[in-house]
Amino acid sequence: MSETQTRILVVDDSLDMLTSLCKILELHSFLAEAAYNGSDALRKLDSAEYDLILCDIEMQGVTGLDLLERIRVNMERDLEVVLMTGFLEHEYYVRAIQLGAADFLAKPIDSKALIETITKVLSKRKKRKELSNYYKHLEKVSLSLEIKPSEFSKFSLSRVVYGYLNQNHSLPSKLINQVLSCLDEMAYNSFIHGTLNLNHDERTLDSEDLRGLIQSRLNDPVIDSRRIRFSLDIDNAHHQLVMSVEDEGEGFDYQGWMDKLKNEASPTTQEHGRGLALLYHFADHLEFSDSGRKTTVIKNLEAR
């Protein structure tokens, strides 16, 4: 078996179907492994890496849709899933698309259609991975943004960064989630405190009033002249992700907070300092500079 051979997990609770699908795939030089039902597939996914899953939808117990949901939501795995079905109700189809099914195959399975579908799905995956493979071999890749307050409030920075990381860098989902959590805390603080300078009473207004207040602040020329600066470096040479958010506000007593955070056994759930506590616990290294106007989070990357 070559190391680059595509590995496919075939899931079906019909033994005859499973055997014939594996044989067809092997004849076309794929490495096919059989899972006898959804639970068996979950066990195999726990211990091995696959490029694609070919899965029957209508199975007893863990169905094809259940399996797809667990792969996407709980296991957070980036692999292609092709679903096979004798019939497909509209509701199932929509759900499968929402969960990111790569394609569908109608039963009875035609071997030519099977190979064509798998080849097409794998080709798309390969193209998607090419750019991230290129970035992976560069010593450093950076994204830098300077954002006007009015633009900042229109589009979430988390969405921008999620799209950027997802499309260009193959990073584990758990790491991306933690980076986005940190970013949300950093960006929220830079906007609400560092740029709009909202006090506690203003921040706790009901959402309609708060929206109105934010809009009126955004019309203030002093606030409009401020900028929020964001940078993200994927430093492959040092196996680090370095993310900073900087504002032009008054800063804060970060040293006092850092001393407090270092002495806490677990993050506080108190309103004041909860965001900082989460940052501290999610970051491998947390740093403040420029009197607290700039926050930098470093996450270690495994050698890629």
């Binding site: 939501v73 709980n74 949300d184 929220y188 959402s207 677990s266 965001g275 506590a277």
Partner: protein, 102 residues
């Protein structure tokens, strides 16, 4: 991010899909306000498809928790994703209410 609320037989069920962050936490606040104003005495949170919750989102849940138990209500996380379960455990929120994984 998507939030669904159902209230039936004094049980409210909120299902959150996606990432709950400072941008959309007010949507949760609105749903929680509906639960508070209803006759529900149990809030079931389904966070199985919720990939993460920011401190703002946690804040909304904690504020609601304080008011809701004050009128005899209870909260239970009936399902949660790995990341949310880890976060709730780290914050020791599982000492305030039951948090189930997956």
């Amino acid at each position: 991010m998507n939030i669904e609320l159902k209230i039936e037989n004094k049980v409210a069920n909120i299902k959150i899909d996606g990432i709950l962050n400072s941008e959309n936490a007010h949507l949760l606040q609105e749903k929680l306000a509906e639960v508070f104003q209803s006759d529900a005495n149990l809030l079931e949170l389904d966070l199985f498809e919720c990939r993460n919750i920011s401190s703002t989102g946690i804040g909304k849940i904690l504020l609601f928790y304080k008011d809701f138990i004050g009128k005899g209500g209870e909260i239970e996380v009936i399902r949660s994703s790995n990341s949310v379960y880890e976060l709730f455990s780290m914050l020791k929120l599982n000492q305030l209410f039951t948090v189930n994984l997956g």
